[in-house]
Symmetry: C2
Subunit: 300 residues, 2 copies
Protein backbone atom coordinates (compact mmCIF):
# COMPACT_ATOMS: atom_id res chain seq x y z
CA UNK A 1 0.00 0.00 0.00
CA UNK A 2 2.34 2.69 -1.25
CA UNK A 3 0.92 6.17 -0.80
CA UNK A 4 2.01 8.66 -3.46
CA UNK A 5 4.26 11.34 -1.97
CA UNK A 6 2.60 14.68 -1.33
CA UNK A 7 4.77 16.42 -3.93
CA UNK A 8 5.26 14.04 -6.83
CA UNK A 9 7.73 16.22 -8.68
CA UNK A 10 9.74 19.11 -7.28
CA UNK A 11 12.04 21.50 -9.16
CA UNK A 12 14.80 23.31 -7.32
CA UNK A 13 16.47 26.27 -8.97
CA UNK A 14 19.82 26.92 -7.31
CA UNK A 15 20.91 23.88 -5.35
CA UNK A 16 22.97 25.46 -2.57
CA UNK A 17 22.49 25.36 1.20
CA UNK A 18 18.87 26.56 1.05
CA UNK A 19 17.76 24.46 -1.91
CA UNK A 20 19.73 21.38 -0.87
CA UNK A 21 18.39 21.44 2.68
CA UNK A 22 14.83 21.89 1.38
CA UNK A 23 15.30 18.81 -0.81
CA UNK A 24 16.77 16.76 2.03
CA UNK A 25 14.06 17.79 4.47
CA UNK A 26 11.21 16.89 2.11
CA UNK A 27 12.85 13.57 1.23
CA UNK A 28 13.30 12.80 4.94
CA UNK A 29 9.63 13.58 5.49
CA UNK A 30 8.71 11.15 2.71
CA UNK A 31 6.93 14.01 0.98
CA UNK A 32 9.04 14.21 -2.19
CA UNK A 33 8.70 12.14 -5.32
CA UNK A 34 11.25 13.10 -7.94
CA UNK A 35 13.47 16.11 -7.28
CA UNK A 36 15.04 17.83 -10.29
CA UNK A 37 17.79 20.41 -9.81
CA UNK A 38 18.63 23.36 -12.02
CA UNK A 39 21.62 25.61 -11.52
CA UNK A 40 24.42 27.72 -12.95
CA UNK A 41 27.23 25.51 -11.73
CA UNK A 42 27.44 21.97 -13.10
CA UNK A 43 29.81 21.12 -10.21
CA UNK A 44 27.14 21.98 -7.64
CA UNK A 45 24.54 19.90 -9.46
CA UNK A 46 26.94 16.95 -9.63
CA UNK A 47 27.66 17.30 -5.92
CA UNK A 48 23.90 17.43 -5.23
CA UNK A 49 23.43 14.24 -7.26
CA UNK A 50 26.30 12.55 -5.45
CA UNK A 51 24.83 13.51 -2.09
CA UNK A 52 21.42 12.23 -3.16
CA UNK A 53 19.79 15.64 -2.71
CA UNK A 54 18.38 15.63 -6.23
CA UNK A 55 17.43 12.74 -8.45
CA UNK A 56 18.30 14.41 -11.70
CA UNK A 57 19.83 17.60 -13.11
CA UNK A 58 17.35 19.38 -15.34
CA UNK A 59 18.33 20.74 -18.72
CA UNK A 60 15.31 22.31 -20.36
CA UNK A 61 12.57 23.92 -18.27
CA UNK A 62 10.23 23.60 -21.24
CA UNK A 63 10.22 19.83 -20.65
CA UNK A 64 10.02 19.85 -16.89
CA UNK A 65 7.43 22.26 -15.57
CA UNK A 66 4.11 20.99 -16.91
CA UNK A 67 3.91 18.08 -14.44
CA UNK A 68 5.77 19.76 -11.56
CA UNK A 69 3.87 20.29 -8.29
CA UNK A 70 6.32 22.60 -6.58
CA UNK A 71 9.20 24.83 -7.65
CA UNK A 72 11.64 26.36 -5.16
CA UNK A 73 13.74 29.21 -6.51
CA UNK A 74 16.72 29.35 -4.14
CA UNK A 75 19.25 31.35 -6.14
CA UNK A 76 20.73 34.70 -5.04
CA UNK A 77 17.95 37.28 -5.40
CA UNK A 78 19.78 39.03 -8.24
CA UNK A 79 19.27 35.95 -10.43
CA UNK A 80 15.60 35.52 -9.68
CA UNK A 81 14.17 37.75 -12.42
CA UNK A 82 16.02 35.67 -15.04
CA UNK A 83 14.85 32.38 -13.53
CA UNK A 84 11.23 33.56 -13.25
CA UNK A 85 11.33 34.56 -16.94
CA UNK A 86 12.70 31.13 -17.89
CA UNK A 87 10.01 29.14 -16.11
CA UNK A 88 6.96 31.42 -16.51
CA UNK A 89 5.90 30.19 -19.99
CA UNK A 90 5.85 26.54 -18.95
CA UNK A 91 4.09 26.46 -15.56
CA UNK A 92 1.55 23.65 -15.41
CA UNK A 93 -1.95 24.41 -14.11
CA UNK A 94 -1.10 22.66 -10.85
CA UNK A 95 2.43 24.08 -10.46
CA UNK A 96 3.06 26.33 -7.48
CA UNK A 97 6.28 28.33 -7.16
CA UNK A 98 7.93 29.58 -3.97
CA UNK A 99 11.32 31.11 -3.27
CA UNK A 100 13.95 31.37 -0.57
CA UNK A 101 14.97 34.98 -1.14
CA UNK A 102 16.11 37.17 1.75
CA UNK A 103 14.24 40.18 0.33
CA UNK A 104 10.65 40.27 -0.75
CA UNK A 105 9.46 43.56 -2.31
CA UNK A 106 11.84 43.26 -5.25
CA UNK A 107 11.26 39.52 -5.65
CA UNK A 108 7.51 40.08 -5.82
CA UNK A 109 8.05 42.86 -8.36
CA UNK A 110 10.20 40.59 -10.53
CA UNK A 111 7.68 37.77 -10.19
CA UNK A 112 4.81 40.01 -11.25
CA UNK A 113 6.76 41.10 -14.31
CA UNK A 114 7.58 37.53 -15.32
CA UNK A 115 4.44 35.62 -14.35
CA UNK A 116 1.87 38.24 -15.33
CA UNK A 117 -1.59 36.68 -15.14
CA UNK A 118 -0.11 33.58 -13.50
CA UNK A 119 1.17 35.53 -10.47
CA UNK A 120 -1.29 33.68 -8.23
CA UNK A 121 0.90 30.60 -8.72
CA UNK A 122 3.80 32.30 -6.94
CA UNK A 123 3.82 32.28 -3.12
CA UNK A 124 6.83 34.30 -1.86
CA UNK A 125 8.69 32.98 1.17
CA UNK A 126 11.84 33.62 3.16
CA UNK A 127 13.24 30.85 5.37
CA UNK A 128 15.14 32.44 8.28
CA UNK A 129 17.93 29.95 8.18
CA UNK A 130 21.33 29.90 6.68
CA UNK A 131 24.88 30.11 7.72
CA UNK A 132 28.10 31.68 6.64
CA UNK A 133 28.89 28.22 5.26
CA UNK A 134 27.01 28.44 2.01
CA UNK A 135 27.05 25.84 -0.73
CA UNK A 136 25.34 22.57 -1.43
CA UNK A 137 27.77 20.48 0.66
CA UNK A 138 26.57 22.27 3.81
CA UNK A 139 22.98 21.05 3.28
CA UNK A 140 21.22 19.50 6.28
CA UNK A 141 17.82 17.88 6.56
CA UNK A 142 17.21 19.77 9.83
CA UNK A 143 18.27 23.24 8.67
CA UNK A 144 14.68 24.51 8.93
CA UNK A 145 13.75 22.64 12.10
CA UNK A 146 12.23 25.15 14.51
CA UNK A 147 13.17 28.07 12.25
CA UNK A 148 10.74 30.67 11.01
CA UNK A 149 9.67 30.88 7.39
CA UNK A 150 8.09 34.21 6.52
CA UNK A 151 5.41 33.92 3.85
CA UNK A 152 4.38 37.21 2.23
CA UNK A 153 1.08 36.15 0.73
CA UNK A 154 -0.10 37.92 -2.43
CA UNK A 155 -3.74 38.89 -2.92
CA UNK A 156 -3.77 36.65 -6.01
CA UNK A 157 -2.76 33.50 -4.07
CA UNK A 158 -5.64 31.03 -3.70
CA UNK A 159 -6.01 29.35 -0.31
CA UNK A 160 -5.20 26.01 -1.88
CA UNK A 161 -1.87 27.23 -3.33
CA UNK A 162 -0.97 29.11 -0.20
CA UNK A 163 -1.65 26.02 1.89
CA UNK A 164 0.47 23.85 -0.36
CA UNK A 165 3.51 26.13 -0.01
CA UNK A 166 3.03 26.50 3.74
CA UNK A 167 2.65 22.75 3.99
CA UNK A 168 5.98 22.19 2.20
CA UNK A 169 7.84 24.49 4.59
CA UNK A 170 6.03 23.00 7.57
CA UNK A 171 7.14 19.52 6.43
CA UNK A 172 10.70 20.87 6.66
CA UNK A 173 10.03 21.55 10.34
CA UNK A 174 9.60 25.31 10.01
CA UNK A 175 7.22 27.61 11.80
CA UNK A 176 5.20 29.69 9.32
CA UNK A 177 4.81 33.45 9.90
CA UNK A 178 3.12 36.07 7.77
CA UNK A 179 4.26 39.59 6.98
CA UNK A 180 3.62 41.93 4.08
CA UNK A 181 6.59 42.24 1.70
CA UNK A 182 7.19 45.80 2.96
CA UNK A 183 7.10 44.77 6.63
CA UNK A 184 9.41 41.91 5.82
CA UNK A 185 11.98 44.11 4.12
CA UNK A 186 11.91 46.76 6.83
CA UNK A 187 12.38 44.19 9.60
CA UNK A 188 15.18 42.29 7.87
CA UNK A 189 17.00 45.44 6.82
CA UNK A 190 17.32 46.16 10.54
CA UNK A 191 17.94 42.75 12.11
CA UNK A 192 19.91 41.07 9.35
CA UNK A 193 21.07 43.19 6.41
CA UNK A 194 22.44 46.09 8.47
CA UNK A 195 24.36 43.84 10.91
CA UNK A 196 25.96 42.04 7.95
CA UNK A 197 27.02 45.34 6.44
CA UNK A 198 28.39 46.57 9.79
CA UNK A 199 30.40 43.39 10.28
CA UNK A 200 31.77 43.49 6.73
CA UNK A 201 32.75 47.14 7.29
CA UNK A 202 34.60 46.41 10.53
CA UNK A 203 36.63 43.54 9.11
CA UNK A 204 37.46 45.42 5.91
CA UNK A 205 38.51 48.43 7.99
CA UNK A 206 41.06 46.24 9.82
CA UNK A 207 42.08 44.13 6.82
CA UNK A 208 43.21 47.10 4.80
CA UNK A 209 45.50 48.56 7.46
CA UNK A 210 49.23 48.19 6.83
CA UNK A 211 49.63 46.67 10.32
CA UNK A 212 46.54 44.46 10.06
CA UNK A 213 48.23 41.34 11.55
CA UNK A 214 48.84 43.16 14.86
CA UNK A 215 45.11 43.81 15.17
CA UNK A 216 43.96 40.34 14.13
CA UNK A 217 46.48 38.76 16.52
CA UNK A 218 44.72 40.17 19.55
CA UNK A 219 41.15 39.77 18.37
CA UNK A 220 39.31 37.40 20.70
CA UNK A 221 35.91 35.82 21.25
CA UNK A 222 33.90 39.06 21.21
CA UNK A 223 35.38 39.88 17.82
CA UNK A 224 34.85 36.31 16.62
CA UNK A 225 31.11 36.38 17.26
CA UNK A 226 30.60 39.97 16.16
CA UNK A 227 32.28 39.30 12.81
CA UNK A 228 31.07 35.76 12.13
CA UNK A 229 28.63 37.08 9.52
CA UNK A 230 31.45 38.95 7.76
CA UNK A 231 32.46 35.55 6.36
CA UNK A 232 29.16 35.44 4.44
CA UNK A 233 28.91 35.10 0.70
CA UNK A 234 29.84 38.38 -1.08
CA UNK A 235 27.67 37.89 -4.16
CA UNK A 236 24.64 36.87 -2.18
CA UNK A 237 25.01 39.87 0.10
CA UNK A 238 25.64 42.25 -2.76
CA UNK A 239 22.32 41.10 -4.22
CA UNK A 240 20.49 41.39 -0.91
CA UNK A 241 21.81 44.91 -0.30
CA UNK A 242 20.86 46.07 -3.78
CA UNK A 243 17.50 44.33 -3.66
CA UNK A 244 16.59 45.88 -0.31
CA UNK A 245 18.37 49.15 -1.02
CA UNK A 246 15.70 51.61 0.09
CA UNK A 247 14.99 49.98 3.44
CA UNK A 248 18.66 49.33 4.09
CA UNK A 249 19.66 52.93 3.33
CA UNK A 250 17.09 54.09 5.87
CA UNK A 251 18.53 51.71 8.46
CA UNK A 252 22.09 52.84 7.74
CA UNK A 253 21.04 56.45 8.27
CA UNK A 254 19.29 55.67 11.55
CA UNK A 255 22.32 53.74 12.70
CA UNK A 256 24.69 56.53 11.72
CA UNK A 257 22.64 58.90 13.89
CA UNK A 258 22.72 56.42 16.74
CA UNK A 259 26.48 56.07 16.42
CA UNK A 260 26.88 59.83 16.31
CA UNK A 261 25.02 60.06 19.64
CA UNK A 262 27.41 57.56 21.22
CA UNK A 263 30.36 59.48 19.80
CA UNK A 264 29.07 62.78 21.16
CA UNK A 265 28.57 61.29 24.62
CA UNK A 266 32.14 60.02 24.52
CA UNK A 267 33.52 63.32 23.24
CA UNK A 268 31.76 65.07 26.10
CA UNK A 269 33.07 62.54 28.61
CA UNK A 270 29.45 61.88 29.51
CA UNK A 271 29.77 58.57 31.35
CA UNK A 272 26.19 58.65 32.59
CA UNK A 273 24.80 58.91 29.05
CA UNK A 274 27.02 56.07 27.85
CA UNK A 275 26.12 53.82 30.76
CA UNK A 276 22.41 54.49 30.31
CA UNK A 277 22.58 53.59 26.62
CA UNK A 278 24.60 50.45 27.29
CA UNK A 279 22.08 49.46 29.96
CA UNK A 280 19.12 49.82 27.60
CA UNK A 281 20.92 47.61 25.08
CA UNK A 282 21.97 45.03 27.66
CA UNK A 283 18.47 44.69 29.07
CA UNK A 284 16.91 44.26 25.63
CA UNK A 285 19.60 41.80 24.53
CA UNK A 286 19.28 39.72 27.69
CA UNK A 287 15.51 39.53 27.44
CA UNK A 288 15.75 38.54 23.79
CA UNK A 289 18.38 35.91 24.57
CA UNK A 290 16.29 34.39 27.36
CA UNK A 291 13.24 34.23 25.10
CA UNK A 292 15.28 32.52 22.37
CA UNK A 293 16.69 29.98 24.78
CA UNK A 294 13.20 29.26 26.06
CA UNK A 295 11.96 28.77 22.50
CA UNK A 296 14.82 26.45 21.69
CA UNK A 297 14.32 24.43 24.86
CA UNK A 298 10.60 24.06 24.56
CA UNK A 299 10.24 24.17 20.78
CA UNK A 300 7.54 26.81 21.22
CA UNK B 1 57.76 17.37 52.56
CA UNK B 2 55.34 20.24 51.95
CA UNK B 3 56.69 22.84 49.57
CA UNK B 4 55.53 26.39 50.31
CA UNK B 5 53.23 27.68 47.55
CA UNK B 6 54.85 30.05 45.10
CA UNK B 7 52.63 32.93 46.21
CA UNK B 8 52.16 32.65 49.95
CA UNK B 9 49.64 35.45 50.20
CA UNK B 10 47.58 36.96 47.38
CA UNK B 11 45.23 39.95 47.56
CA UNK B 12 42.46 40.32 45.00
CA UNK B 13 40.72 43.66 44.63
CA UNK B 14 37.39 43.16 42.92
CA UNK B 15 36.36 39.53 43.07
CA UNK B 16 34.31 39.16 39.87
CA UNK B 17 34.83 36.90 36.89
CA UNK B 18 38.44 38.04 36.30
CA UNK B 19 39.56 38.06 39.94
CA UNK B 20 37.64 34.93 40.88
CA UNK B 21 39.00 32.94 37.94
CA UNK B 22 42.55 34.12 38.72
CA UNK B 23 42.11 32.87 42.30
CA UNK B 24 40.69 29.53 41.16
CA UNK B 25 43.42 29.00 38.58
CA UNK B 26 46.26 29.69 41.04
CA UNK B 27 44.65 27.47 43.65
CA UNK B 28 44.26 24.67 41.09
CA UNK B 29 47.93 25.07 40.18
CA UNK B 30 48.84 24.72 43.86
CA UNK B 31 50.56 28.09 43.61
CA UNK B 32 48.43 30.04 46.07
CA UNK B 33 48.73 30.17 49.83
CA UNK B 34 46.17 32.42 51.43
CA UNK B 35 43.90 34.45 49.14
CA UNK B 36 42.27 37.55 50.61
CA UNK B 37 39.51 39.33 48.71
CA UNK B 38 38.57 42.99 48.82
CA UNK B 39 35.56 44.50 47.10
CA UNK B 40 32.73 46.97 47.05
CA UNK B 41 29.98 44.42 47.33
CA UNK B 42 29.75 42.33 50.50
CA UNK B 43 27.45 39.93 48.64
CA UNK B 44 30.15 39.18 46.04
CA UNK B 45 32.74 38.58 48.74
CA UNK B 46 30.38 36.24 50.57
CA UNK B 47 29.70 34.35 47.34
CA UNK B 48 33.47 34.13 46.71
CA UNK B 49 33.96 32.71 50.22
CA UNK B 50 31.13 30.22 49.71
CA UNK B 51 32.63 29.09 46.41
CA UNK B 52 36.06 28.74 48.01
CA UNK B 53 37.62 31.29 45.68
CA UNK B 54 39.01 33.35 48.56
CA UNK B 55 39.96 32.31 52.06
CA UNK B 56 39.05 35.51 53.75
CA UNK B 57 37.47 38.90 53.05
CA UNK B 58 39.89 41.70 53.84
CA UNK B 59 38.85 44.76 55.81
CA UNK B 60 41.83 47.04 56.23
CA UNK B 61 44.56 47.19 53.58
CA UNK B 62 46.89 48.70 56.21
CA UNK B 63 46.95 45.28 57.89
CA UNK B 64 47.19 43.12 54.79
CA UNK B 65 49.77 44.38 52.34
CA UNK B 66 53.10 44.18 54.16
CA UNK B 67 53.37 40.38 53.83
CA UNK B 68 51.52 40.04 50.52
CA UNK B 69 53.43 38.63 47.53
CA UNK B 70 50.96 39.47 44.80
CA UNK B 71 48.04 41.85 44.39
CA UNK B 72 45.60 41.61 41.48
CA UNK B 73 43.44 44.69 40.92
CA UNK B 74 40.51 43.37 38.92
CA UNK B 75 37.91 46.10 39.41
CA UNK B 76 36.38 48.18 36.58
CA UNK B 77 39.14 50.54 35.38
CA UNK B 78 37.25 53.58 36.69
CA UNK B 79 37.79 52.33 40.24
CA UNK B 80 41.47 51.62 39.89
CA UNK B 81 42.82 55.07 40.84
CA UNK B 82 41.00 54.84 44.17
CA UNK B 83 42.22 51.30 44.83
CA UNK B 84 45.81 52.19 43.92
CA UNK B 85 45.68 55.13 46.33
CA UNK B 86 44.34 52.85 49.09
CA UNK B 87 47.08 50.26 48.79
CA UNK B 88 50.10 52.40 47.81
CA UNK B 89 51.13 53.43 51.35
CA UNK B 90 51.23 49.84 52.60
CA UNK B 91 53.04 47.83 49.90
CA UNK B 92 55.64 45.52 51.42
CA UNK B 93 59.13 45.47 49.90
CA UNK B 94 58.34 42.13 48.25
CA UNK B 95 54.80 42.99 47.11
CA UNK B 96 54.16 43.09 43.37
CA UNK B 97 50.90 44.48 41.96
CA UNK B 98 49.27 43.63 38.64
CA UNK B 99 45.87 44.41 37.19
CA UNK B 100 43.27 43.02 34.85
CA UNK B 101 42.19 46.26 33.21
CA UNK B 102 41.04 46.36 29.60
CA UNK B 103 42.85 49.66 29.00
CA UNK B 104 46.43 50.41 29.82
CA UNK B 105 47.55 54.03 29.19
CA UNK B 106 45.15 55.45 31.77
CA UNK B 107 45.78 52.63 34.26
CA UNK B 108 49.52 53.27 34.07
CA UNK B 109 48.91 56.99 34.53
CA UNK B 110 46.77 56.36 37.62
CA UNK B 111 49.34 53.91 38.97
CA UNK B 112 52.18 56.41 38.54
CA UNK B 113 50.15 59.04 40.40
CA UNK B 114 49.39 56.67 43.29
CA UNK B 115 52.56 54.62 43.60
CA UNK B 116 55.10 57.40 42.91
CA UNK B 117 58.58 56.06 43.63
CA UNK B 118 57.16 52.55 44.09
CA UNK B 119 55.88 52.38 40.49
CA UNK B 120 58.40 49.61 39.74
CA UNK B 121 56.24 47.34 41.92
CA UNK B 122 53.34 47.65 39.49
CA UNK B 123 53.34 45.44 36.38
CA UNK B 124 50.33 46.28 34.17
CA UNK B 125 48.51 43.42 32.47
CA UNK B 126 45.37 42.71 30.49
CA UNK B 127 44.04 39.16 30.28
CA UNK B 128 42.14 38.73 27.00
CA UNK B 129 39.39 36.69 28.51
CA UNK B 130 35.99 37.49 29.77
CA UNK B 131 32.46 36.98 28.82
CA UNK B 132 29.19 38.82 28.84
CA UNK B 133 28.44 36.77 31.94
CA UNK B 134 30.28 38.87 34.45
CA UNK B 135 30.24 38.33 38.20
CA UNK B 136 32.00 36.08 40.64
CA UNK B 137 29.63 33.13 40.15
CA UNK B 138 30.82 32.78 36.54
CA UNK B 139 34.43 32.18 37.67
CA UNK B 140 36.24 29.20 36.13
CA UNK B 141 39.69 27.80 36.82
CA UNK B 142 40.30 27.44 33.08
CA UNK B 143 39.18 30.93 32.01
CA UNK B 144 42.73 31.90 31.06
CA UNK B 145 43.74 28.56 29.57
CA UNK B 146 45.25 29.24 26.15
CA UNK B 147 44.23 32.91 26.29
CA UNK B 148 46.60 35.79 25.79
CA UNK B 149 47.63 38.08 28.62
CA UNK B 150 49.15 41.33 27.40
CA UNK B 151 51.81 42.69 29.74
CA UNK B 152 52.76 46.33 29.16
CA UNK B 153 56.08 46.42 31.01
CA UNK B 154 57.19 49.72 32.56
CA UNK B 155 60.83 50.84 32.38
CA UNK B 156 60.86 50.79 36.20
CA UNK B 157 59.90 47.09 36.45
CA UNK B 158 62.81 44.91 37.56
CA UNK B 159 63.24 41.59 35.77
CA UNK B 160 62.47 39.75 38.97
CA UNK B 161 59.12 41.52 39.46
CA UNK B 162 58.22 41.22 35.82
CA UNK B 163 58.96 37.50 35.91
CA UNK B 164 56.84 37.02 39.00
CA UNK B 165 53.79 38.59 37.40
CA UNK B 166 54.30 36.75 34.12
CA UNK B 167 54.73 33.54 36.10
CA UNK B 168 51.40 34.07 37.88
CA UNK B 169 49.54 34.52 34.60
CA UNK B 170 51.40 31.61 33.03
CA UNK B 171 50.33 29.41 35.98
CA UNK B 172 46.74 30.33 35.03
CA UNK B 173 47.45 28.76 31.63
CA UNK B 174 47.82 32.02 29.72
CA UNK B 175 50.19 32.91 26.92
CA UNK B 176 52.15 36.08 27.74
CA UNK B 177 52.48 38.81 25.08
CA UNK B 178 54.11 42.20 25.31
CA UNK B 179 52.89 45.52 23.91
CA UNK B 180 53.46 49.12 24.90
CA UNK B 181 50.47 50.69 26.67
CA UNK B 182 49.85 52.85 23.58
CA UNK B 183 49.96 49.89 21.17
CA UNK B 184 47.69 47.99 23.50
CA UNK B 185 45.08 50.72 23.63
CA UNK B 186 45.12 51.30 19.88
CA UNK B 187 44.72 47.59 19.12
CA UNK B 188 41.94 46.98 21.64
CA UNK B 189 40.05 50.12 20.67
CA UNK B 190 39.75 48.54 17.21
CA UNK B 191 39.20 44.84 17.92
CA UNK B 192 37.23 45.04 21.17
CA UNK B 193 36.02 48.44 22.32
CA UNK B 194 34.61 49.58 18.97
CA UNK B 195 32.74 46.29 18.30
CA UNK B 196 31.17 46.53 21.76
CA UNK B 197 30.03 50.07 21.08
CA UNK B 198 28.66 49.09 17.65
CA UNK B 199 26.71 46.18 19.12
CA UNK B 200 25.31 48.29 21.97
CA UNK B 201 24.28 50.92 19.39
CA UNK B 202 22.45 48.41 17.19
CA UNK B 203 20.46 46.86 20.02
CA UNK B 204 19.59 50.22 21.54
CA UNK B 205 18.49 51.45 18.12
CA UNK B 206 15.99 48.56 17.91
CA UNK B 207 15.00 48.55 21.58
CA UNK B 208 13.80 52.13 21.53
CA UNK B 209 11.49 51.74 18.52
CA UNK B 210 7.77 51.73 19.27
CA UNK B 211 7.42 48.46 17.33
CA UNK B 212 10.56 46.86 18.80
CA UNK B 213 8.94 43.42 19.39
CA UNK B 214 8.31 42.98 15.65
CA UNK B 215 12.04 43.38 14.99
CA UNK B 216 13.24 41.19 17.84
CA UNK B 217 10.76 38.47 16.83
CA UNK B 218 12.51 37.89 13.53
CA UNK B 219 16.09 38.32 14.70
CA UNK B 220 17.99 35.08 14.16
CA UNK B 221 21.43 33.53 14.60
CA UNK B 222 23.37 36.24 12.74
CA UNK B 223 21.85 38.85 15.04
CA UNK B 224 22.45 36.65 18.07
CA UNK B 225 26.19 36.40 17.49
CA UNK B 226 26.62 39.98 16.31
CA UNK B 227 24.93 41.34 19.43
CA UNK B 228 26.20 38.89 22.04
CA UNK B 229 28.61 41.52 23.38
CA UNK B 230 25.73 44.01 23.74
CA UNK B 231 24.79 42.02 26.86
CA UNK B 232 28.07 43.11 28.48
CA UNK B 233 28.30 45.03 31.72
CA UNK B 234 27.29 48.71 31.26
CA UNK B 235 29.44 50.14 34.05
CA UNK B 236 32.51 48.21 33.01
CA UNK B 237 32.10 49.33 29.41
CA UNK B 238 31.39 52.92 30.37
CA UNK B 239 34.73 52.89 32.21
CA UNK B 240 36.60 51.25 29.33
CA UNK B 241 35.20 53.72 26.80
CA UNK B 242 36.10 56.71 28.96
CA UNK B 243 39.51 55.30 29.84
CA UNK B 244 40.39 54.63 26.22
CA UNK B 245 38.55 57.65 24.92
CA UNK B 246 41.19 59.08 22.58
CA UNK B 247 41.95 55.81 20.79
CA UNK B 248 38.28 54.84 20.65
CA UNK B 249 37.22 58.19 19.19
CA UNK B 250 39.77 57.71 16.44
CA UNK B 251 38.39 54.25 15.71
CA UNK B 252 34.82 55.52 15.66
CA UNK B 253 35.80 58.16 13.14
CA UNK B 254 37.60 55.66 10.91
CA UNK B 255 34.60 53.38 11.10
CA UNK B 256 32.16 56.17 10.30
CA UNK B 257 34.18 56.88 7.16
CA UNK B 258 34.16 53.19 6.26
CA UNK B 259 30.39 53.01 6.76
CA UNK B 260 29.93 56.15 4.66
CA UNK B 261 31.82 54.43 1.81
CA UNK B 262 29.48 51.43 1.98
CA UNK B 263 26.49 53.75 2.04
CA UNK B 264 27.73 55.68 -0.98
CA UNK B 265 28.28 52.46 -2.93
CA UNK B 266 24.73 51.41 -2.10
CA UNK B 267 23.27 54.83 -2.98
CA UNK B 268 25.01 54.63 -6.33
CA UNK B 269 23.77 51.08 -6.90
CA UNK B 270 27.41 50.09 -7.26
CA UNK B 271 27.16 46.33 -6.83
CA UNK B 272 30.75 45.75 -7.93
CA UNK B 273 32.13 48.03 -5.20
CA UNK B 274 29.95 46.37 -2.56
CA UNK B 275 30.91 42.87 -3.63
CA UNK B 276 34.60 43.76 -3.68
CA UNK B 277 34.43 45.15 -0.15
CA UNK B 278 32.47 42.17 1.13
CA UNK B 279 35.03 39.85 -0.49
CA UNK B 280 37.97 41.59 1.21
CA UNK B 281 36.20 41.20 4.55
CA UNK B 282 35.20 37.59 3.95
CA UNK B 283 38.73 36.57 2.97
CA UNK B 284 40.27 38.26 6.02
CA UNK B 285 37.63 36.83 8.37
CA UNK B 286 38.00 33.31 6.99
CA UNK B 287 41.78 33.38 7.28
CA UNK B 288 41.54 34.70 10.83
CA UNK B 289 38.97 32.04 11.75
CA UNK B 290 41.10 29.24 10.33
CA UNK B 291 44.14 30.46 12.24
CA UNK B 292 42.11 30.62 15.46
CA UNK B 293 40.78 27.11 14.97
CA UNK B 294 44.28 25.86 14.32
CA UNK B 295 45.52 27.54 17.51
CA UNK B 296 42.69 26.05 19.52
CA UNK B 297 43.24 22.58 18.11
CA UNK B 298 46.99 22.52 18.54
CA UNK B 299 47.33 24.81 21.54
CA UNK B 300 49.97 26.76 19.61
Amino acid sequence: MNKAPEFRKILIYGVGLIGGSFALALKSAGAAGEIVGFGRRPASLLKALELGLIDRAGINPAHELEDTDLVLVAAPVGQMPGIFAQIAPYLGPHTVVTDGGSTKTDVVKAARAAFGGKIGQFVPAHPIAGAENSGVAASRSDLYQGRKVVVTTLPENSDERLDRVKRAWALCGAEICELTPEQHDRVFAAVSHLPHLLAFALVRDLAERPDAPLFFDFAASGFRDFTRIAASHPEMWRDICLANRAALLKEIETYQNQLREFRTALEQNDGAALEKRFAVARKARREWGEKQEFRERTGE
